[in-house]
């Protein structure tokens, strides 16, 4: 039996208390324990970015973070962007610019793009490309994703 540990943290603005296996990653906690499935498993080793979340305002791969390390932190997932006007603009831009095809990379891509915009990056196409280089997409060829982010950041396209 795995060792369990109680943690308390802020998830999408709401304080949560959960008991998690000490060996569990944050991705598995979000999906399997808490039931928020917007964060996706793509590779489990930090290479694809499909599981991107924000912790204390910084984007990271939830597959590489132990669930217990969420204790006391402020965690935001794609679901947490639902009532955020800045994120609304980003989501709409992804839709309007055709940045979504199969959509599997999209939540992680939007979490990363949201982080870029909040940290003042993304003022030009080059910094957007560098900013999302850790997020793989197999459908779109990235161009429309870059265009979508640029339309919100005001970067010349």
């Amino acid at each position: 039996m795995s060792l369990k540990h109680d943690i308390e943290f802020k998830l999408n603005g709401i304080t949560r208390r959960v008991a998690v296996d000490v060996s569990m990653n944050a991705l598995a906690m979000l999906r399997d324990v808490i039931g928020l499935t917007g964060t996706k498993y793509g590779c489990g080793e930090g290479e694809c970015g499909a599981c991107t979340i924000q912790v204390d305002g910084v984007s990271l791969n939830s597959c590489l973070m132990f669930a217990v390390d969420c204790d006391g932190r402020n965690v935001t997932t794609i679901e947490g962007l639902a009532n955020d006007s800045k994120a609304d603009a980003l989501r709409s831009a992804f839709v309007e610019h055709g940045a979504v095809q199969c959509g599997f990379c999209t939540p992680g891509m939007i979490m990363q793009a949201d982080h870029l915009l909040r940290s003042g990056c993304g003022g030009d196409a080059g910094s957007i490309k560098r900013g999302i280089e850790g997020n793989l997409c197999r459908c779109t060829g990235y161009k429309k994703i870059i265009d979508a982010i640029a339309s919100v950041s005001g970067a010349p396209s």
Binding site: Y41, C102, P107, Y142
Partner: protein, 804 residues
């Protein structure tokens, strides 16, 4: 009320065709609300895991599952011995889901567990003990055809899954193979000997194409549940639900009518979900054994190891032309690495031979393929279906022949390019054909002719960065492909009291945007906004038959089917309105949610009101229609001849590169593409298809390489299997040639596969243009390019080979 207000409202004409219509399911996907198969959990569900071989080629001497069965939380442990009714699966029915007696590749399935959690299932796998006796490994297809090669499939398989029963006179499902040849294809038109005699120039080269894989962002998965009456409900990622329903029934020895397949949104397809793979059948066995729903998901490593690949090809092409630039013949021999088993990869010659026989006018063509068994991963279907490999060779030869006769490569291509109305030696009839427009447009927009000259002149200039430009064109089916008994698609259309449409289509959605395009086509007929449509496309219990998502067929086939259903609905509505308003049907039309006067657009009645009137009356009626569209294409004859598609798509891509001669790094700077798509239906969607395909082609050309050494996959992860990332993408300039196909929906042709086909070929030509060095093998990694630039690469030569 003044006079002006009494005037009838005029509805201005509008169209959805060619507009930038956002994908209908994008808002859900962008907010993380879409439930993929990974996100679905059924109550009482168990988790399935598979034990794979840790040998490449070996006899299984014994399997001990007793410790795994004893582990708390384990509900079922199965091996081949537990499934006496196993039947061989795959395109050639040459392997069992759970391997019997022998493993033939690294990924081979030996046992499977269903347990309360994934962790318990994984722990149980570790408790299964397998004893092997190693056999020699064939990892190189050239070794597989040597006379003394060990046979990969020597023994017959019984239809019941065990060899022992064969002795008791049971039926044989797979006879085994007396050699390692899985499939052969031989095609000929004209007479290549005559063609060669008429040639002023003849060249022959060997090309080598590598392993790549789909890398769908959503890993493979399945959920299976039998109800208490024995009916099977599957949540599956298949691209071909109706074909698979029948096949799964065969493997389970049950009535296909009792199988229902629901397709949750799919995290990428690209051809990978066109065949049934062992994990799917094993998941069914586990659900049957455990009498509980079983969910099985791959890890990313499993996705690399156990999902299909694009087929590696060794190819020798001999081709010729006259001094005036007329192509004379093509003679082609290819050796395909089939891997250990046969999936659709073995049948890519169907498409390859079309390109060899019919891309440009080829009077004489001779094509031979052998797909051979090895102990490597087995190859499936992948966007482009052999066409990337064929085009890689052909378009390099086009440049090389042009250079030999001293002709401009653009002029040489245009001289041999076909026009509408031509029929090829293989019987493909080009009713619409924008081939020359594609070549000219791509050349002009990229300034190809000037850059070709300029780059050659700069080859010996100072500096380590050399610029190159290369061109390649492609031909692909664009109006379905009549491979199965029917290439059709069904539609059911119903309208409610508020003039909303439920469009029930057989066409599967795999991220390509079919639901949006089909809705546009229906709205165009019925004069309604796209928001009026709800699409149902993912449940075999509801949707009408469709052959599946393949061959770039959905817009064309399902589109024509949707239009057919919409036209029937429109005819019914107009007939009702004509009676009610005492005029001819031809005086009326539908526009903007109204029945209007066709002559001046004046609104006659709101469509929803008319539908309610029809519904709530004594002879009540609803508007519900059905349509089944079968394209006017034909099956090929035994010699592979025939007009297999109702339309053909064309495209030309010009690739520009910078080659760093110090490091061998090739940077793709720009792709200029011109595609004959018939007509643009959804500009946003079609740009997305092209851009995504171009970058997939870039990966094939430059970075992606599934490395197999002695049967072992060396890089089953995203760190070492290098997908293209955002900073590496080239500038893209995409043009659409609208040839308005007469059979296509609103004139459109298929485009899904087209954009990835030419990139590697054009890149090869661009590297040559930059450096004067031709590289015959993919991918163009820094090491390969570096060595080639220094003359360290021996010239590839594979002697065309024929078995007796």
């Amino acid at each position: 009320m003044n006079v002006a207000e009494k005037k009838a409202r005029v509805i201005e004409p509008d169209t959805l065709i060619g507009k930038r219509i956002p994908k209908m399911d994008a808002p859900e996907k962008a907010s993380g609300k879409t439930r993929y198969i990974h996100d679905i959990n059924l109550s009482g569900q168990l988790h399935g895991k598979i034990l794979r071989s840790d040998r490449i080629h070996a006899l299984i001497k014994s399997i001990d599952t007793s410790a795994a069965k004893a582990l708390p939380g384990v509900h079922a442990v199965i091996t081949a011995a537990d499934i006496p009714d196993q039947r061989p699966i795959g395109v050639a029915k040459d392997h069992f889901p759970l391997k019997v007696g022998r493993v033939r590749s690294e990924r081979d399935e030996i046992a499977a567990v269903a347990a309360e959690s994934e962790e318990i299932a994984e722990a149980a796998l570790k408790l299964i003990k397998v004893e092997y006796e190693d056999l020699p490994v064939i990892s190189n297809p050239e070794d597989a055809i040597k006379p003394d090669a060990i046979l990969i499939h020597p023994e017959p398989h019984g239809a019941d899954g065990s060899h022992e029963h064969l002795k008791q006179g049971m039926s044989i499902a797979h006879k085994g193979k007396p050699d390692n040849i899985a499939m052969r294809f031989d095609y000929v038109h004209g007479d290549v000997i005559q063609g060669e005699a008429e040639s002023d120039v003849v060249i022959e080269d060997t090309f080598k194409l590598h392993y790549v894989t789909h890398c769908c962002m959503g890993v493979s998965g399945m959920i299976a549940e039998f109800d208490s009456s024995g009916n099977l409900l599957m949540y599956s990622n298949t691209q071909v639900p109706f074909l698979h329903k029948r096949e799964f029934a065969e493997y389970l020895n049950m009535d296909p009518a009792r199988i229902r397949i629901i397709q949750p949104p799919i995290g990428g397809g690209f051809g990978s979900k066109l065949d049934i793979y062992p994990f799917e059948v094993i998941c069914l066995y586990l659900a049957r054994a455990a009498k509980r729903p079983v969910k099985m998901l791959f890890t990313r490593e499993e996705e690399f190891l156990a999902s299909p690949t694009r087929q590696p090809v060794l190819l020798t092409l001999r081709s010729g032309c006259k001094k005036d630039g007329t192509l004379t013949f093509r003679q082609v021999h290819t050796l395909h690495d089939n891997g250990a088993y046969t999936s659709w990869g073995a049948t890519t010659p169907f498409v390859m031979m079309q390109t060899f026989s019919s891309l440009y006018r080829v009077p004489h063509c001779d094509y031979h393929t052998a797909a051979v068994y090895t102990n490597n991963p087995y190859a499936g279907s992948f966007r482009g279906y052999g066409n990337l490999q064929a085009t890689f060779a052909i378009e390099q030869h086009m440049d090389m022949l042009a250079e030999k006769i001293g002709m401009d490569p653009l002029e040489f291509r245009l001289k041999n390019a076909q026009d509408a109305g031509e029929t090829t030696g293989q019987g493909m009839s080009f009713k619409s054909c924008g081939f020359k427009d594609c070549i000219n447009t791509a050349a002009q927009r990229s300034d190809y002719a000037r850059k070709v000259q300029e780059n050659v002149a700069n080859r010996n200039a100072a500096g380590n960065i050399k610029r190159g430009v290369g061109m390649a064109s492609m031909l692909h089916v664009g109006g379905g492909a009549k491979i199965y008994p029917s290439d059709g698609c069904g539609t059911i259309l119903k309208m409610d009291d508020f003039a909303n449409i439920t469009l029930i289509t057989g066409a599967s959605e795999i991220g390509q945007g079919s639901e949006t395009v089909l809705s546009q086509l229906v709205c165009e007929e019925l004069g309604l906004p796209i928001s009026a449509v709800t699409v149902v496309n993912n449940d075999t219990a509801i949707t009408p038959w469709d052959v599946g998502v393949h061959a770039s067929r959905t817009t064309f086939i399902a589109g024509n089917s949707a239009i057919g259903a919409a036209k029937k609905a429109k005819a019914k509505i107009l007939a009702v309105a004509a009676t009610k308003y005492e005029c001819a049907e031809s005086d009326l039309d539908l526009r903007g949610g109204f029945v209007i006067k066709a002559a001046n657009g004046e609104a006659v009645v709101e469509l929803s009101k008319l539908l309610r009137n029809l519904h709530f009356q004594d002879k009540a009626e609803l508007v519900m229609t059905t349509f089944y569209y079968e394209p006017p294409s034909v099956h090929q004859d035994k010699g592979f001849k025939g007009d297999v598609s109702a339309a053909y798509a064309w495209g030309t891509q010009v690739v520009e590169v910078e080659v760093d001669t110090d490091t061998g790094i090739v940077k793709m700077t720009k792709v200029t593409g011109a595609h004959d798509v018939g007509r643009v239906l959804n500009r946003l969607g079609i740009e997305g298809q092209i851009e995504g395909g171009v970058i997939m082609g870039q990966g094939y050309a430059l970075t992606e390489d599934l490395m197999i050494e002695n049967g072992v996959m060396k890089n089953p992860n995203f760190r070492d299997y290098k997908l293209v990332t955002a900073p590496e993408i080239p500038e893209m300039d995409i043009s659409f040639i609208e040839s308005m196909d007469g059979e296509g929906p609103q004139g459109a042709k298929g485009v899904g596969e087209a954009p990835s086909i030419c990139i590697a070929a054009a890149t090869a030509n661009a590297i040559f243009n930059a450096t004067g060095v031709r590289i015959y093998e993919l991918p163009f990694t820094p090491e390969r390019v570096y060595r080639a630039l220094r003359g360290q690469t021996p010239k590839l030569y594979w002697k065309p080979w024929k078995a007796n």
